[in-house]
Symmetry: C3
Subunit: 161 residues, 3 copies
Amino acid sequence: MRAECRDIREIEGLKARYFRFVDRKEWDALCELFLPDATFAFPGLGSFESAVDGVAAIRAALGTSVTVHHGHMPEIELVGDGEARGVWAMDDLVIRPPDAPAIPDYPAELQAGLHGYGHYHETYRQQDGRWRIATLELVRLHIEPLGRGQPSSGSPRDEAE
Amino acid sequence: MRAECRDIREIEGLKARYFRFVDRKEWDALCELFLPDATFAFPGLGSFESAVDGVAAIRAALGTSVTVHHGHMPEIELVGDGEARGVWAMDDLVIRPPDAPAIPDYPAELQAGLHGYGHYHETYRQQDGRWRIATLELVRLHIEPLGRGQPSSGSPRDEAE
Amino acid sequence: MRAECRDIREIEGLKARYFRFVDRKEWDALCELFLPDATFAFPGLGSFESAVDGVAAIRAALGTSVTVHHGHMPEIELVGDGEARGVWAMDDLVIRPPDAPAIPDYPAELQAGLHGYGHYHETYRQQDGRWRIATLELVRLHIEPLGRGQPSSGSPRDEAE
């Protein structure tokens, strides 16, 4: 595989693991996807200036929730030696349990959960031959509060296996 | 990057911008993604035979709505010199404001908004080294009317930042 | 296109056809995507040990329903000569008609339909120059029952064309 094709595929695979590790709650593995000094900007959650702080914020907000994050339609561009940037369409379903701690910057109607839509604007840097996320900013198109009593909060394993 | 790989990636990037420009309402940039004589067939909206008319129809239907369009699972095939075709799975969320003009061919239950599903069947042509959309047809699998009063019509920036 | 890039693209195209053939109910074409001795593990539906039995089970469960299956964020890895494995994020919307036969292992609340989320864990094998699915396991993150009377069960062609 030629370098450019491989680099873009590796960045897409990096983001695929990002989504999977968030939804599977693999926090240590998630942290490894970022450069140590990565920056994060999440509407409603705040801004963070290290991988450790950013992942801690994600974990605090989502750790006890069922979440589903999907990425769509990557636009990845190599912009220099070992540097790249990308835009991803996204949606996220967050089902928060009744005893989840309130997210201070979220309005009351979103505390029980949400289905959100937007775009990630990111940059990537290659270090020791491995691509990692350098900066991540989420820009929202829309957030839908989850209807009361819907969806069900049971786990899929209870329901359908 | 080898030519075939690059061509397919460029077509995928073209469609990524299509979705982003629709949802961000960048109408002039959207128009540039099509050949001037591109044809459009949208169930419920009609058929159009130029980039200008097709984009004007999209704008008239969606311009005052919050929309989220996502593409999935591209099947792109190069079929000749500077010619390609593709199928994309898709879904679109359209939240129409109370004062949006009625879409004549839509039933009453869809006037407030919808969550739709289907496939785009498209062809592409390369002109002056740049791929553009030559024909676009949307075939629906299903359309769900949005429930009354749900989802909220507030903007995400009001709600969650 | 170099071999590795082409192989990964072919596997992604294979899975794109999987989704399209399920939702378009092209059962014979669907069966052809699997090795004859393919294995399937679907939570709630059971396990199957041939392409014929697996596709028959999918057809029995979904054949009279409107369904929309989308894949996201592929992680494909070539692991040997003509062997590969992959993980896909997914979601599936299943709208079952009132007269659909009950799925025995599903709770009552899912019999009318569901919106599910999870990951496919798959392996692929190349035979006679063509990639096919060798094993498929679906692992759920969450399943939401469809609300009563919502979404509408009408066909999109009735509603919006």
